[in-house]
């Protein structure tokens, strides 16, 4: 089953003629994912790896047919308009790969999307992969099979790199994954830990969810809440990174824009809240496969 992406998923890529747009197109096609159209204003009529390019999203839909996902691969200050273009025509999932998108633009994109009943993944999201089924975004790069395999473990991480690292760790531990999702590390993101937990709850393939948590923000605390409320009932294993930063002054920002020391819950509070909710907190990153074994 998996979530967000499967064998049937049809994709449109905005910014398809750019360097990363072209690269992701060929990676997706190699993986067998259906990229049906691309958009770059002013470059309509061209082709990228056999995928037709159009001047606008609505033109692409009219000419190449409907899509399930719009992937946004444009410069940061152009991503607001690109995302709104996809939201206006109600493409069900808008994946924003773009990093360094201003937070005000993100807030407005999310507000637009909720009016139109569209899900936003990102910004700064590496994408999502349902191993053996399909993928969106750049997760796994050109060789996703080197780290991901099909199975019962759902994976959530803000960080794209840690999606692959977790995939590899879990795969080497003898477990496959249902869907691996990078939600992005910005202050505001369209799809949160909680949103994904609720999706994983409905997914019969997923038996356990593993998450990579970070210093700052409230993602893990919100996740604990849905576990406590009984909305997520499967085992939830979480690892928290960034303990070193607790010694730094408040407001110190780390690599991810949302990883800000002192923003909302402290590390200690997060661990406590998670443990109280019944989540399993992994002390060491490498312990995760052992913990999966225990609950499966």
């Amino acid at each position: 089953m998996a979530i967000l992406v499967n064998r049937e998923t049809r994709i449109l890529i905005q910014g398809i003629t750019g360097k990363s747009g072209m690269q992701v197109t060929s990676e997706l096609l190699d993986y067998g994912t259906r990229v049906v159209s691309g958009v770059t204003p002013g470059k309509g009529g061209q082709e990228v790896d056999t995928v037709p390019v159009f001047n606008s999203v609505s033109e692409a839909l009219r000419e190449a047919g409907p899509v399930d996902v719009a992937m946004i691969y444009v410069p940061p200050l152009a991503s607001y308009e690109a995302a709104v273009e996809a939201i206006e025509v109600q493409i069900p999932l808008v994946h924003i790969f773009v990093e360094k998108m201003p937070v005000f633009d993100t807030a407005r994109v999310i507000a637009h999307a909720s009016q139109k009943n569209v899900r936003v993944l990102g910004p700064a999201s590496v994408g999502a992969i349902s191993p053996g089924e399909g993928k969106i975004g750049s997760v796994g790069g050109p060789a996703p099979d080197a780290v991901f395999s099909k199975g019962p473990v759902g994976i959530i991480s803000k960080s794209g790199g840690m999606c692959s690292e977790l995939g590899l760790l879990v795969t080497n531990g003898g477990f496959g994954q249902s869907t691996v999702v990078g939600i992005g590390g910005d202050l505001l993101v369209g799809t949160t830990f909680v949103d994904l937990l609720l999706e994983f709850e409905k997914d019969s393939q997923t038996k356990v969810v593993v998450a990579f948590g970070e210093v700052g923000g409230s993602a893990e605390v919100e996740a604990a809440k849905v576990i406590e409320e009984g909305k997520f009932t499967k085992p939830f294993i979480v690892f928290l990174a960034g303990k070193f930063a607790e010694k730094l002054p408040h407001d110190t920002a780390l690599g991810h824009a949302g990883a800000i020391v002192g923003l909302e819950a402290t590390m200690e509070q997060k661990i406590k809240i998670l443990k109280n909710s019944g989540a399993i907190v992994a002390e060491n990153f490498e312990d995760i496969p052992k913990l999966i074994k225990k609950v499966l």
């Binding site: 940061p76 990093e99 507000a111 790069g141 960080s159 790199g161 202050l187 730094l248 991810h256 824009a257």
Partner: protein, 435 residues
């Protein structure tokens, strides 16, 4: 980026918010000159990024020249709560009728901006939340529409018995609309005015006419770094990652990303040199990825090592960016190791980025003889490692390579062990050298 109070006040002035007249000074001469443009009492305020400035003695109402000079002498160029004081603002004293608190920031769970208004100004909002939660009003904003005037009128005027024109409330609503203007126009992550002062407006002849206006006596603004690209004209000083004054390396690292948005390298660079805060370390860190970099730092510290810095590059930065970041990171003296570590990359070209590392490494003088540990995986990692082996042999670098089969934490532990051995050996060498 966190702003100084005076930088924040300047932004507020741009949207028409009343701020006290102030003059910036950075030396005693300037204080003397500024004194001529102000009447006593003068409020002298040190400009630092840390909070609770007033409570720590950083704000003084001076009634004489002697007091003012003494205050300036005590603080200018000196350390205040771990930060060097570069500026003191000298401001007119505002006759405050009552004090409030007001702020706009983002709610990361609801993903919207919201406003907090508190009847109790001049004190820490966290304390008010505990002691007088009823004094705080929260208003959520739709980021597409911003605050709606009618809604604000309902909130602030609804309870007053006189439903007619209430100038005081109208002024407050006007203030809120302007504050919102500043918030989105300048891409703020936080904008906080505490205290927000209600001042009895004076007519030109100086008589009190019963009118009121609101004055932002203080301003705390944090700008969204991602928004800075569209505010190149904004006149703000570069800031360090931890303290107000950036180290040379922090400044140089930040510059790398300013010219090219593709991939990041050094946007976040934290110097851990023991001053003013944080422990001093001796292992240079070049981590990759926002998530993995946290894991790397935790793992080095858990193994007993001390990082000399925190920085990361990610999102497939160019070879040149990594080269520059390597140069900046390794320009630190007294290093006993260099750790290049990250997760299995998705789309970052490992060959390109590690080529940048080698180019940067080649420019470090004297040639690094300390151990270098590299742990990476992802596109073109094997090619990259072959290249590194060749370079290490030719240049006699002490490079230790680990692939994705080795956990990040194991590589970090190895780094700490090698760095400890290196320190023991160089100590021995020094002793022998003396003999």
């Amino acid at each position: 980026m966190k702003l100084y109070e005076f930088e924040g006040l300047r932004i507020l002035s741009k949207v028409g918010i009343e701020t006290p007249f102030f003059v910036m000074t950075s030396d005693l001469d300037a204080v003397k000159q500024a004194r001529k443009r102000l009447k006593f009492p003068i409020v002298a305020k040190v400009q630092v990024l840390s909070g609770n400035r007033g409570r720590r003695g950083g704000v003084k109402v001076c009634t004489t020249e002697k007091q003012l000079t003494a205050f300036a002498r005590e603080h200018l160029g000196k350390e205040f709560n771990g930060e060097q004081v570069r500026f003191i603002a000298l401001a007119e004293k505002v006759d405050i009728e009552s004090e409030y608190y007001i702020s706009i920031t983002y709610d990361t769970a609801l993903k919207i901006p919201f406003l907090l208004f508190s009847q109790k100004g001049g004190v820490d909002i966290e304390e008010v939340k505990k002691a007088n939660p009823e004094a705080i009003i929260r208003i959520d904003f739709d980021p597409l529409a911003g605050p709606i005037k009618k809604d604000l009128e309902k909130i602030f005027r609804g309870s007053t018995p006189n439903r007619g024109r209430t100038p005081k409330e109208d002024r407050l609503i006007d203030f809120i609309l302007r504050l919102w203007d500043a918030f989105w126009r300048y891409d703020c992550r936080l904008i906080e005015v505490n205290p927000l002062a209600l001042r009895r407006a004076q007519s030109k002849r100086g008589s009190v006419n019963g009118e009121f206006d609101y004055v932002a006596v203080d301003a705390k603004i944090i700008l969204d770094d991602a928004g800075l690209a569209r505010h190149r004209d904004l006149d703000v000083l570069s800031k360090g990652a931890i303290s107000a004054i950036p180290s040379q390396r922090e400044l140089a690292a930040k510059k790398i990303d300013e010219e090219d948005y593709r991939g990041s390298a050094g946007s976040t660079f934290i110097e851990l040199d023991g001053s003013p805060r944080g422990e001093a370390g001796d292992i240079a860190i070049l981590a990759s990825g926002g998530g993995a970099s946290l894991l790397v730092m935790d793992a080095v510290i858990a193994s007993g090592g001390r990082p000399a810095n925190y920085t990361e590059y990610s999102g497939n930065p160019s070879r040149e960016k990594v080269e520059k970041l390597t140069q900046v990171t390794l320009s630190r003296k007294g290093l006993s190791g260099c750790l290049v570590a990250g997760a299995v990359a998705n789309f970052t070209d490992i060959y390109e980025t590690l080529s940048g590392f080698v180019q940067g490494l080649g420019q470090i003088k004297p040639k690094p003889d300390y151990p270098i540990v590299i742990r990476r995986g992802g596109p073109r990692q094997k090619e990259a490692y072959e290249m590194l082996r060749r370079v290490a042999k030719k240049e006699e670098y002490d490079i230790h390579l680990f692939g994705p089969e080795t956990p990040i934490s194991v590589a970090c532990k190895k780094m700490v062990e090698l760095s400890n051995q290196f320190k023991v050996q160089s100590a021995k060498f020094k002793v022998n050298g003396k003999k």
